[in-house]
Amino acid sequence: MKMMKKVSFALTCALALGASAFAADYPRKPITMVVPYAAGGGTHLAAEILTPGAEKFLGQPLEIVCKPGAGGAIGATYVAKAPKDGYTILYSTLSLPTAPLIGKVGYKTEEFVGIAQCSDVASVLAVRADAPFNNAKELVEWAKANPGKFSWSHPGVGSSLHIQGANAIYQMGIASVTKDIPAKGTAPGIANVLGGHVTAISSFFPALSENVKAGQMKVIGVVGNKRLEELPDVPTFEEQGYPALITSWRGVFCHKDVPMEIRKFLEEKFAEIIASPEYQERAKKLGEPQVYANSEEFTKVLMKGHEDMTELVKAIGLAK
């Protein structure tokens, strides 16, 4: 009996050592961060600024692979099906909880857990400078007085800008008298507004900041919970009486089955990377509003996104 106890004690110690050795062993090779959007796009760029110098913090280089398609679902499915050893993580946006609600994808939102939130981007609803309304209330009046005339552009069905724009339109109660016009990206949408073919556009502010500065376009309202730094005089839709609060956040995720020590390690290190002055400077140049949340908080954000989207997607009529 005593022998058994000794042996089992020794075995337990060995196992414990083994476990910490495993954790101390990570990472042994470069970590792959999957970006489920096209290379060169906004999300890719935002992810790229995490990589220079990441080796200092993580011990191994952070490599980005773009796997675009299906509104972010292809990349997310890839990570969901990859080995849960912490070497394949995901950088995603509001599309992560949205995609499973719109169509058949290979993962469930609950499978993912947040590591670090990087940003929280509010969108705006902008119109040409000569439009006959200047704020949400006037817009609602105009839209109701001219049913069918108000059209708004977004970069694609199911995209976060579509969702955010729809959020505002539904809150204003004018969904039945307006129509959404999908475009292939934000750029053709801006061109359409400038040319008068479409009335408004749901966009992130950086894409049209120069046009607004030059006086070609004006912003009706911000979809989010606070005003934009660059536009201190433009109220949010909530302030104007229409609580449209859905914002597009971005951050790092991993599968929930990845061992806890690895998740903690990643959480710690990403927090350090994000806090570093070099990253902050790159982010500032990119124009990304930096909002950080740690693993627990970010997972909550993810699940809240799932709830919000379930409702909104049904309202827009996109639910599968």
């Binding site: 994808v105 059209s151 479409v198």
Partner: protein, 494 residues
Amino acid sequence: MEALQAVLSNITFQNVLFLVGGAFAGIIGGALPGISPSMTIALLLPMSLYLPPSYAIMTLIGAYQGAMYGGSISAILINTPGTASAAATAFDGYQMANNGKAGKALGMALTASCTGGLISSVILILLAKTLANLSIQFGPAEYFGIMVLALTLIAGVCGDSMLKGLVAAALGLLAATVGQDPVSGTDRLTFGIFDLFDGFTMLSVFIGVFALSELMMQLRAGGKVLNEPTQLLNVSSDRITFREYWSQKWNILISGIIGTFVGVLPGVGGSTASFLAYAEAKRRSKYPEKFGTGIIDGVAAAESANNGVCGGALVPMLALGIPGDVVTAILVGAFIAHGLKPGPLLFSQHINDVYMIYVSLILSCVAVLILGMIFLPLFVRIVKIRKSILFPCVFILCIVGTYSVRSNLFDCFMMFAFGLLGYVLRCYKFQLAPFIIAFVLGPEAELNFRLALRISGNNYMTFLEKPICATLLALTLVSVYFFAFRSRKQKKSA
């Protein structure tokens, strides 16, 4: 004088060095099937983040021009357009290579590309603001007009059987419908396979239908032909002469202008431009029936147009802050990352940066020309390699190239499927060109048609009420008349 000084100050040794480096990377990226110009720029982008703005801009713009030219190399040598915009180049370019005139084809592609690039740079510099204002007049209805006009090219490349050409085009349209409905978002013909959610990847289709089917056809020649030893022919006679280049001057000029204008329109790019230019060159030509058999006119038109897109796409980017095509969209991201905000205020607040962009555009044409001329003999030799060695290499390149688009193995299976389709089509003497044109332009035409209707509240008259659109549709009728009837009458009476 001050402006001239500011312009010249941008031509420093280091700037030029980075420009040439970028151009070289661009040519390679463009030539490799699977690495499109946008991907080349996207690959260079992270590197450019470490460089100061002027070097970064020089590198990226050099790469842009290089990639647009590079696509012609593989289009001509192995019938696989390295980029979608080189599809029209393959029509005549590959035939020329088969006729032993690969050097001429490559030379024409090179000189036409550089000239087209220069033409669009000049137009950009002189007319940026005007063109930008013109471009925003184009809404969905007008885009539809352009697409339909370009689609009439199908009638021109049907070859002997109009019926077979139309069937091929219909197959192309069918293949293009697979994926997400662009307006309502529902899946179409995906059969639940969610890798097909975005439709067939364009490069998988290109590489499959052109390159893989070509490989399969070549395999039929049998072991003896394939194992013929590498011929060390005297290559010097197989090059483009100045006289031949000069004979194409109007073709190149008009195609370059077409490319520039098409590039100005946000969302429309190299492939539409080259199809339109090819169609127009054929329509204008004294010997339209020769297009597709391997004449330099076809190569010149396509290549001049697709490099014309480079300068054109920068017009809305610089004047309005709106990128004109996929590559300029990435360039915008790169500029912003370097603290440059493209937009209407760029001219008044950062004129120096604008000059730098102009300079890099013009110099990149020169750089591509010089690099191309240095490496041309090397490229030509590729054609002479023993086929039993060349083809497996091409095969591997196809697979790797297709995979690299989305890092998704499914795309490779798609490529094989389309390769089989292309092979079957060719066995039954169907033309591939109508298929590819319909596949590329069909979805654009559909999206814009439906958006135009949506905006107008289902008013079909909107296409005739809008002047620009009505004009384009009228031109379409003219084009159809020419391609479908007159040219066939000419052929019959010849």
